[in-house]
């Protein structure tokens, strides 16, 4: 299944692009997606502990199952205001 991944803040700078599409096995969860993204960009791994994930514009736990076409964001600590 194809998942849309969005990067923000320092992650966007690190990944070099704001978004990408990632092909995953059915039954994958958000943690699997992060692992797949980190395969291509190992530098992402050191941010894992300081990120939260979103699925379709809702904050989501790392064990959240994914469906085809889901939009997942990897979000650094927020600093709006």
């Amino acid at each position: 299944m194809l998942i849309k991944v969005l990067y923000f803040g320092r992650l966007k700078e690190l990944s070099g692009s704001p978004e990408e599409s990632v092909e995953l096995r059915d039954g994958s969860v958000i943690e699997d997606l992060f692992a797949a993204c980190s395969e291509a960009r190992p530098e992402l791994r050191r941010f894992r502990a300081s990120l939260v994930a979103s699925r379709n514009c809702e904050f989501a736990a790392w064990d959240t199952p994914l469906d085809p076409g889901d939009e997942v964001g990897f979000l650094p600590p927020v600093s709006g205001g």
């Binding site: 939260v52 514009c57 989501a60 736990a61 064990d63 927020v78 205001g81």
Partner: protein
Amino acid sequence: MSTGHPQDRIAITRDPIPHVQIAWDVRGGANGAVATFDGCVRNHSHGRSTLYLEYEAYESMALAKMREIAAHLHANFAIDRVAIVHRLGRLEIGETSVFIAVSAAHRGPAFDACRYAIDTLKKTVPIWKKEFFADGAVWADGELPPVPAETPGAKPAS
């Protein structure tokens, strides 16, 4: 997505925020109070002189989270109208980055709701600030939003 309160103003913009107009527009005849919060760009951060800031957002999610804040205000405070407007892009010292206005019959709920709104926005709305100094730039230290501890059983509607 909730339809929201029809007279609320929840927005993200790249233009200067018309804060005087926004504070005026939340007024209604039944209101005795308008409380506002004007978040503006400070000229220093952690002892360094700031030149300017750049804000970016996950816009669709940020708007959804800002609408959730407004819905929470209506459900929990005796208020009338809510405006929450955040600006993105490059902001100079002294410019308004976020403006919140809440009207109510009485001042207590207006103050309380306004305070709740900015405190919650800073924790839960996916917006990021990069600080530019004479000798470099850094992403501001932020807050990690609270996340569901485990996967909810029900699939969210999409």
